[in-house]
């Protein structure tokens, strides 16, 4: 369970950005890859806790799930995996371990208070 420390990092980074730009934040937008090692539900819960007593208190965490995209060595194309238990091209079945997307843990935007 490392989601709380990740949530605290998210809050720290968002707060720093909000202070620097002198804005109030309603929501933090996050890209979360299926291979990030972070559980979304645990992160959402931890986020509320991490926001307590900060400028972000009352804000939401908006998570965009990023599926695993691999490069298929046989099709020579990016392919989205159907299952993270099967690192093989969904089209031709070739094994692949070249990961293009799915490890994201990235703050992409701050939603500002109107």
């Amino acid at each position: 369970m490392h989601e709380l420390s990740i949530a605290m990092s998210i809050v720290d980074m968002a707060q720093e950005e909000a202070e620097r730009r002198n804005v109030q934040v309603d929501a933090v937008h996050l890209e979360l890859g299926a291979l990030s090692g972070v559980v979304k539900e645990a992160l959402l819960f931890s986020y509320t806790v991490a926001c307590d007593g900060t400028l972000l208190e009352g804000s939401r965490l908006v998570v965009k799930d990023i599926p695993i995209e691999v490069f298929c060595p046989s099709c020579k194309l990016p392919r989205t995996l159907v299952s993270m238990q099967w690192f093989h091209c969904p089209d031709c079945g070739a094994a692949t371990s070249e990961i293009l997307h799915g490890k994201e843990l990235v703050i992409t935007a701050l939603e500002l208070r109107q």
Binding site: L35, M84, F87, H88, A95, T96, S97, L105, A109, E111
Partner: protein, 241 residues
């Protein structure tokens, strides 16, 4: 009129601090000629037993040392110290994984001299360590025969993040009716092409081939031309279906 939410675009990697530190560590290890191997597994899979045997067998041929992560005790470090190589405990308190900053702090003031190989034993956990780069060159994930063949499918993220897998406690395989072929197929499903080794730290079976793999990796880091045809214990079973 409905107001569109006003978005301020930023792009910040949440783990940037760890990643930057890990990169710096990796650079430093490389400059010093130290090859770094980390070990991850669930609690009780036999990381310490395997490491104890590994250190004993490499001691004398290579300059080796180990950092060992644990939540609360120093028992593992005391065990490993019996091998005669320098060992330092990283006690994480309540933290369930190692981070690059912990490795950096452990290295500060640790007077071990030049090293060929540094082992980092992570906290027993198949979830959280997957997210944290420690600056290692090689990540070994371990699976003991007593855990069940489907561990790779249950924890694909950590298996996918590893460079090689080791099946441990192989001396118990028959007693627990371990289905090796299923385990191999599951490993290859989540990380195609990953080398897999079978060892028993108790009897020493399989140690030689795994150590040969490690030392070849180490030599290649030093820039020597090394033959890549390592007779991988398990490749013939890889799920090439």
């Amino acid at each position: 009129m409905i107001n569109e939410p006003r978005l301020l675009e930023v792009r910040k990697n949440v783990l940037k601090q760890n990643d930057v530190l890990a990169r710096a560590l990796r650079g430093r290890f490389r400059t010093q000629g130290t090859f770094v191997v980390s070990l991850v597994s669930s609690p009780g899979a036999g990381k310490t037993a395997l490491l104890e045997r590994t250190l004993s067998q490499l001691h004398g041929q290579y300059r080796v040392a180990a950092l060992v992560g644990d939540l609360a005790t120093e028992n593992d470090a005391l065990r490993l110290a019996r091998s005669g190589v320098p060992v330092k405990q990283i006690t994480t308190g309540t933290v369930c994984h190692l981070e690059a900053a912990m490795v950096q702090r452990a290295l500060e003031g640790w007077n071990v001299g030049p090293l060929d190989l540094l082992f980092i034993e992570n906290v027993g956990n198949l979830v959280c360590p997957a997210s944290y780069d420690l600056g290692e060159d090689l990540r070994l994930v371990m699976l003991s025969v007593t855990e069940g063949e489907d561990k790779p499918l249950k924890y694909p993220t950590i298996f996918n993040s590893a460079d090689a897998a080791i099946i441990t406690k192989c001396d118990l395989a028959a007693a627990v009716e371990f289905e090796e072929e299923a385990a191999m197929a599951n490993i290859q499903a989540v990380r195609p092409g990953m080398p897999v080794f079978r060892v028993s730290a108790r009897t020493g079976d399989g140690m030689e081939i795994y150590l040969r793999f490690l030392t070849r990796k180490l030599l290649r880091e030093d820039g020597d031309a090394v033959n890549e045809d390592i007779p991988l214990a398990a490749i013939h079973l890889s799920a090439s279906k």
